[in-house]
Structures are given as structure tokens and as C-alpha cells.
Subunit: 322 residues, 2 copies
């Protein structure tokens, strides 16, 4: 029963998180500039709630958020869930300004907002992309050096650093949540949606970027939200870093392609490229150590493969409705 503010609230993870916070009885200020999130992602559960308050504003314009928040007259914000970011990694590969503006400057905007509204805990949607390419080693929260190979990962890391200093300066707690690949609905981007869309356009063939051997861990969004709540409820330190992923070695892109094809177009032939990585800035294989979170007492319901299978079914269903 307190006030939470979610940035990027109209995005894929945002609407799932807001739903959970509402079910827990909180008031939720949903901030989104609708640049990549959309009102269409917001389901009836949220739309009908008198405890969900939508503010169309960019985190880069903290004054607008401050003004709108004050107008709501709610009790002071206790928790900020900072999800707003560029989610299109390839878009930023040749233009650093995209991730600087939409990932880093949204984080600094959140701090400037809190400077005016008063301190609150910040839970930050970071990414395994901060690690860079560590080949087959499972990366731990304490692993160094961190060498992101995309502006996306770099600006997630820059945001983490800013929040670390802000804990020293004025905010009571920051939880850095380094996400594995997250799948589920409403899907707005990502490999599964991409395969579904392309197989619908041409059911005879699916062309896969890279040689299909790229292997990554996947977490279903329902498990992700559960893990986020778990960390927020239990993490004791003022600055905490957690990998959020499944305790397995992931699943290959070839396997995902096969699952999607089996569900949508079993006759489709799969065509692979020759390169081990799908695109520049992509880490072809990575393993995320999740022991720290498991030691705190959390486990996901679904493995990488189960998460992908469920998400494929959900995404096919979502598109049928659309």
C-alpha cells in the first residue's frame, strides 16, 4: 500500500510489472513517452484500475514528471522501477546518441526527478549486456572487467555507475537487476517475435541471422517480475547487484527457430548464416551465474527452454488476436 513509479511503464516488461504492483495493492504512477512503449500494451486490468496513473512524459524531462506527480496528490514515492530505455540494440550500433539519450539520460532524469520529489529506492532494469563477451565463462555480479560491446550495454553500465554514486549521495537504496533475455507478452521485439512475423510472411522458409549456434539464457517475464519483487522485498544492502536469469546454460537460436517453426509452419526449411554471431554488438554465447539470487532463496518456475516454449505459444496467440 504505497506509491510506486514505473518508467517505461507502457513497454513489454513495464505492463507486466505494473499489473503485479497493482495486485499487491499499490498506487502506481506509470511514466512513458510512448516512443517505443504503446497504449496498446496496456491491458484492461491496468486500464480499469483506479490505482494506475498514467503520465505521458519522457524521463529526459524530469520537470514534467514532477509536475504531473505532484498533481496526483499521492503519498510520497517509495520505489522507482526504472525500465525506460532504448530496447532496440541494433538501432544503436552505429549511432551512440540513441542509447545515450534513451538509456543513460533517462537514468539521470530519474535522479533529477527524485532530487525534487524526495529520495526513493530505485530498482534498475540493467542487462547482461554490461558484461561484454566473456566466452564460455558464467559471469558473476562481481566479475570484472566489464567490457560492453554495444552502446546499449555501455549505457546500462553507465546508468549503474550513476546509481552507485547516487546511493552515496542521496538515494536510500539501488538494486541493479541484470536481466537475461526476457520473453513473454506483450512482445514488442526480440528473436521469437521476429521468427513468428517472418514465418507468417513466408511459411516455406525461415532465414536465421548467424549460424544458429548463439546460445543464451532466457527468463519468462512472469519469473522476471517474481524475481524483481523478491529482490525488492529481501535485498538488505544499500547497493545490490543481481543477475536475473534461469540456472541453466540457455538455449540456442537454432533450437528457438525449430520451436517456432514446429508451432507455426512445420514444413518450413531453416536457413542459417555462416557467422557465429548474429550481428555486430551481439554476444554470441553467454552464461549468467545466478547463484547469488538462488542463495537468497529464489528459483524460477521455468527453464530457458520452457520459457521460450511458453512465450512462443503466447506470442502466436497475441498475434492471432491482433
Amino acid at each position: 500500500m504505497s506509491t510506486h513509479l514505473v518508467t517505461g511503464a507502457a513497454g513489454f516488461i513495464g505492463v507486466n510489472l505494473v499489473g503485479c504492483l497493482l495486485r499487491r495493492g499499490h498506487d502506481v504512477i506509470m511514466v512513458d513517452d510512448l516512443s517505443s512503449g504503446s497504449v496498446g500494451n496496456i491491458g484492461t486490468e491496468i486500464a480499469r484500475s483506479s490505482h494506475a496513473h498514467f503520465v505521458e512524459a519522457s524521463c529526459g524531462d524530469p520537470a514534467a514528471i514532477v509536475q504531473a506527480t505532484r498533481r496526483l496528490g499521492l503519498p510520497p514515492i517509495q520505489d522507482v522501477w526504472h525500465l525506460a530505455a532504448n530496447s532496440d540494440i541494433p538501432a544503436g550500433l552505429n549511432d551512440p546518441t540513441i542509447d545515450i539519450d534513451r538509456t543513460f539520460l533517462t537514468t539521470s532524469g530519474v535522479l533529477l526527478m527524485l532530487k525534487q520529489l524526495g529520495p526513493a529506492r530505485v530498482h534498475f532494469a540493467s542487462s547482461s549486456a554490461v558484461y561484454g563477451d566473456h566466452l564460455d565463462a558464467a559471469v558473476m555480479e562481481t566479475t570484472g572487467p566489464l567490457e560492453p560491446i554495444s552502446y546499449y550495454g555501455a549505457m546500462k553500465l553507465a546508468s549503474e555507475a550513476l546509481l552507485r554514486a547516487a546511493v552515496e549521495s542521496f538515494i536510500p537504496q539501488a538494486n541493479i537487476l541484470r536481466f537475461a533475455n526476457i520473453v513473454g507478452t506483450p512482445a514488442t521485439h526480440g528473436v521469437i517475435l521476429d521468427f513468428v512475423t517472418r514465418l507468417r510472411a513466408d511459411p516455406s522458409e525461415l532465414v536465421v541471422m548467424g549460424d544458429g549456434s548463439q546460445r543464451k539464457p532466457y527468463l519468462h517475464v512472469s519469473d522476471l517480475i517474481d524475481a524483481m519483487m523478491f529482490v525488492a522485498d529481501r535485498a538488505a544492502g544499500r547497493f545490490n547487484v543481481f543477475n536475473l536469469g534461469p540456472p541453466d546454460d540457455g538455449i540456442t537460436v537454432a533450437h528457438i527457430a525449430r520451436i517456432v517453426a514446429d508451432a507455426l509452419a512445420p514444413e518450413a526449411s531453416l536457413r542459417f548464416g555462416l557467422e557465429a554471431r548474429g550481428w555486430v554488438g551481439d554476444v554470441p554465447r553467454f552464461r549468467l551465474a545466478t547463484r547469488k539470487l538462488m542463495d537468497l532463496g529464489w528459483t524460477p518456475r521455468l527453464s530457458s527452454e520452457q520459457a521460450v516454449r511458453l512465450a512462443v505459444a503466447e506470442i502466436i496467440e497475441q498475434r492471432s488476436q491482433g
Copy 2:
């Protein structure tokens, strides 16, 4: 005999670096917005050189630098030495915008400038502040996690991350140089100048922030410039991180205070505070592992204590001339 661009060229380290580059026969484009650097720092050696080209512009305004650089008609820039940053750490403790604007956004400005002028190597003046507080452990370049406790350190780390991704994207090489405390002339800030200034105002007493036990490694600016050239000449990888400091455990603030007092006002009584750290955001003790640079074949002329003693003499002399 090539073209170098130095940002923050009118600052303490900048003018020392530019002098060295000119002596090596290079053309040097000196970029500074004179917000903390000043024309007064630029000595006659530089002022009289036909190979030094001063551009008064902020790195936050890359278009201005691009325009001015093109007008010079020099061969393409081969090396950028990116020193422009906020150097007043305490000023940024309560206002994140200072280090965001003056340290992080200058780095992104350098990249945007190179997007237009063409790729060049970037040598970045980073800081041991990126490590945060590791107590008595000597921090290595691979040490993790990096948890800067000031916005200053956080925005140096954010800049490093951006450059790491830029190497993947378009620049040929980035050398990250994590400086120890640098001392020498023309001194513009720092503990020695502070003690000299205050002892001149009141030769009877010197009040020291903190209990004087703060211990840090110091490098004389002449050794720093030598190390920077050494790394630029020898580092082979596309992304290299080096601690630049002396191979010793540093010198305490109490010891520095005694050296300054002995030189200026031997009768002065020293008064210390009770806290182990001088100010919020200060790491009271740190040790910088310098093995990586030593293994490459470099050693400084001066130890921490020798660097401080030389700098004290130089700063007293500098002020007498002022």
C-alpha cells in the same frame, strides 16, 4: 609528425601534454571551453609554437570543434587525448548534473566529433575513482566490481564504457588511463595548492579535513605525461586499460601537510579532524596496482613522496610568480 587533438588542453594536465606533443613534432589542436582551464595556464612554449592551434569550444558542442578543425586544414587527426572533465569532485557531490555534463557528455561529444571528422585513436584520462572503496586492497585493471562513490568517478566509468562500445563500433583504439592523484604545475586545484593557499593566509595554523590518515598514491605530472606517451607508443590491443601511478603505497595527508608547512611556515600548528575521510565521496585510502604498466616496461622517476615534495616546491614557486 601527425595531428593530435587534446580536449581540456588549457587545464593543468592539458598544457603539460600539449608541450610534450609539440616537442615530439606534432600539430596539436587544443580544445578548451575555458570553464575550468584558462589561458593563463598556457606557457610561452605553447603560445609561441606555430604547431599549437587553440579552439575555444566545449566538447558538448562537437559541431563547433568540427568546423574549427576543418578550417585549420591539417592532416586528419590520428590521436585524441580526451582530458576535458569536471575536476572539482566535491562540487559534484550533491549535483549529478555537473559530472554528467562536464565529464560524461564531453566524452560523448568527442565520439560525435569523430563521427564527422573520421575515426582516431582515443586516449582517455580516467581516474582511480572508478574503483570506489576497496579498503586496503591494491586495485588492478581487471578488479571488479567497480563501484564509484562519487558522480565524478561514476561519469569517468560511464565514459570508459562508452569508449569500449565505440571501439566495437568505429574507433580503431581506445586507451583508458586510470590516473592516481597527479601533482605539479600549473596547479589549479588539489590538496597541495589548498594547503599552500591556506598557510599563506594564516601561517600560524593549518586545518586539515579528516584525521590526516588518508593515504593515496601521487604521480608527478612529468611522470604522468611520460607514461601516457609510453602507453600510446606500446599498447597493442584495441581496448587497453592501465592504472597510471607510482609503484608504492602512497603518502598520507598528514605527511603532505607537514611537507607544505615545513616549506612555507615551519611554526604552523597542524589541526586535524576526527573523521577518517576528508569529505563524502572521498575514498580515504587506496592502493593502485601498477604491475601491468611496469610489466610493459615503464617506471616513474619519482615515488609518491618525491612527487609531492617536487610539486610543493613548484607550486610555492608558481604562486610567488603570480
